[in-house]
Symmetry: C2
Subunit: 409 residues, 2 copies
């Protein structure tokens, strides 16, 4: 009897999520248990709409394309931001999906995503179990936010961290050239967890201490203290580079943002303007040159700055996801466990997705300095190995050569 598999991607893009997809494809192609691997377009939405592609056909005996896929940013299969309804309230979505599973002889379902995707993995694995279907449902992590619990860190984070740190160093060079006081504010992604903002610390080297101040959403932000911090910095230096999270909030929990926060389908606040708001404040209080730079979507898609460690681990977590399924596991997510910092060593494992879905890993208080304007050495030790190594993105006409599915857009 045929045993097939489906893989899909969901949530916000990262530089490494296609490396995990490549790992899943490789694992399935090499398994004698799995006949055909399908890809569902746009996550569970495309799965329900039966928008499927045959990945076995596309990638079998095509190692070269698999390698290009590993370094292609964003999502080869497309994404969605859909959270399945609670099965007690409405099981219709689940019924559509299990009908697709039956039609295509699906015995393995791999879902690559973040928090909300792990919620889907948990719900689906329980549903198929309750219906006594032989379908193993496995989650594979991704998120630049690094906010999943249990796993030491998440695929996509290391590459985003490397981009953020290199960009802060390059922007520091850009600001150091003038012989006049200046403040540069880099606004970095991370709504509730400040991991990516913290990663800007890796920009520091023997000649540049930028970012001189780091503000994280885990610590209540005070505009008054911010002004005092800048005053203290100006006593030591002319140029101040500041890293701020987009999600800074005051002690009452209100966002430090000039704009009203909108809300997405998951009830998350959509932010912008923290950097611009603080830029205005600095201009008003100090009257010096000030610029805010929103390190925008490039931090999650600039594949030319990907971390080799991140790409390799993301690939391995895809492979591990397939291995877990073939061992008979379901409702688990593949995770990376750190054995040591120096030399950096990890092992891959599986963990119950129930522990992970809807939970959020924030920065431990002990890794933020007392003043709430910097991170500690422990944080640097944690971060350093994750950005290790560069990748060589293939080129065509001197532009990055990536893989793309479907009609030209």
């Amino acid at each position: 009897m045929m045993k097939n598999a489906i893989v899909a991607q969901s949530g916000g893009p990262t530089t490494a999520i296609n490396a995990s997809l490549a790992g899943v494809i490789k694992g399935c192609l090499e398994s004698h248990e799995i006949d055909v691997l399908y890809g569902a377009l746009n996550g569970v939405e495309g799965l329900m709409d039966e928008r499927l592609v045959n990945l076995t056909d596309i990638f079998d005996h095509n190692e070269e394309n698999l390698n290009v896929l590993k370094l292609t940013p964003a999502m080869y299969l497309g994404s969605c931001r859909r959270k399945l309804k609670d099965v007690d309230q409405d099981s219709s979505e689940y019924d559509i999906i299990i009908n697709i599973f039956r039609k295509y002889h699906i015995h393995y379902f791999f879902y690559i995503g973040g928090n909300d995707s792990m919620d889907t993995v948990g719900k689906m694995s329980r549903y198929v179990k309750e219906h006594q279907m032989d379908v193993k449902v496995i989650g594979i992590p991704k998120t630049i936010d690094n906010d999943l619990v249990v796993t030491d860190h998440t695929p996509g984070f290391g590459s985003a961290a490397r981009y953020v740190a290199a960009s802060v160093l390059e922007m520091a060079h850009d600001t150091y050239i003038y012989n006049t006081k200046s403040v540069l504010i880099a606004e970095i992604m991370g709504r509730d967890a400040g991991w990516l903002t913290a990663a800007s610390v890796l920009a520091r080297n023997s000649y540049s201490r930028a970012p001189h101040l780091i503000y994280l959403p885990e610590h209540p932000f005070s505009k008054e203290q911010f002004i005092e911090d800048i005053k203290a910095q100006f006593k030591q230096r002319e140029h101040i580079v500041i890293a701020v999270s987009e999600g800074l909030r005051d002690v009452e929990g209100h966002y430090i943002s000039a704009e009203t926060a909108a809300v997405d389908a998951f009830g998350h606040a959509t932010l912008s303007g923290t950097g611009k708001c603080l830029e205005g404040l600095v201009a008003e209080k100090f009257g010096c040159k000030v610029r805010s730079v929103e390190i925008n979507v490039l931090q999650r898609c600039a594949a030319h700055m990907a971390s080799a460690t991140d790409i390799e681990e993301s690939w391995q977590l895809g492979l591990k996801g397939v291995a877990l399924a073939l061992e008979g596991k379901s409702g688990e997510m593949s995770i990376v466990c750190r054995i040591s910092d120096e030399p950096y060593q990890v092992i891959y494992d599986g963990a119950d997705v129930q522990q992970i879905a809807n939970a959020e890993k924030k920065i431990p208080t002990a890794w933020i300095n007392e003043a709430g304007n910097d991170v500690t050495e422990e944080m640097v030790r944690y971060l350093r190995p994750l950005i290790h190594g560069s990748v060589a993105v293939p080129e065509q006409d001197s532009m990055p050569h990536y893989l793309f599915l479907g009609e030209a857009l």
Copy 2:
């Protein structure tokens, strides 16, 4: 008798301006005519303040550091934004400078910069000539804006163009993943000349036509036409990527910007907000997902995306500047002349700086399509060779390893 030289850098930073500095250093080190090469910190400001470093000491027999300098973004010697006064009005600045020249036995002065710096080169060369001093004053071009006349293109432009094009491609991948209508607006530097915005066209490949619309400051911008252009695009595709110059103006010459334009020391308008303004317009008219990304200072300092062609040419223009001075030329700027597009061939020459200072090269009307929302094939042929080739930035702790002068900041 000792014959020494001074070099300085001025204006806004680029990824390639240190490659030109490295060329000047190399040329001076190899010349038997020049004993010591000094670097003035912060352009003519540091020159007047006698803030000089001995570059011969730093770089002689240190080929490795010279190579790191070639790939270091921004300005090793620092910059300033100072335009010398008209000599008829006030010659005091010139007198300070020629006293420094006398004190340090300076016979050659190299100034690397853009439009305003070439104004300084012109004024200084006339002043020393009138005072019968044996000082050759030579300009070496740089500007990401590519708006200098006579030279085929300017050092720094190719690298910025490569960064812009790669970033637009990566942002297109980022937007293509969702199955819902979306508009992404990339705001690109270039106050009056749209060369860098036009370079976004190089992001187009076999599977992605992004940017689907390109708006340049050379063509009057109409909000009504912009809305019509987007409507037409939505008939063909779900995702629209738009490249806009920061300096878009309406038919009456007013900036399309949500914010009031300030004015810098040279009377240039300082802009921000064109992308944000258009983002608001799209949200209002179409109600779809829309995001504007200001491709900020990284377009002029992201050395990891430098164009190998640009770095090599910038280096050659530094060498050429020294050669011109040694031939006895003064009041000239080194230029690059294109011999052919395919194969791409150039020669280096010198041109009277009077032709160049205070003039501005805009995009020829024939290179913009009639609708004013795209560029032509001639533009693509012009741009393509300039982004050719990638560079391998040396690394330390997986971060770019650059060269820095002076105390840690």
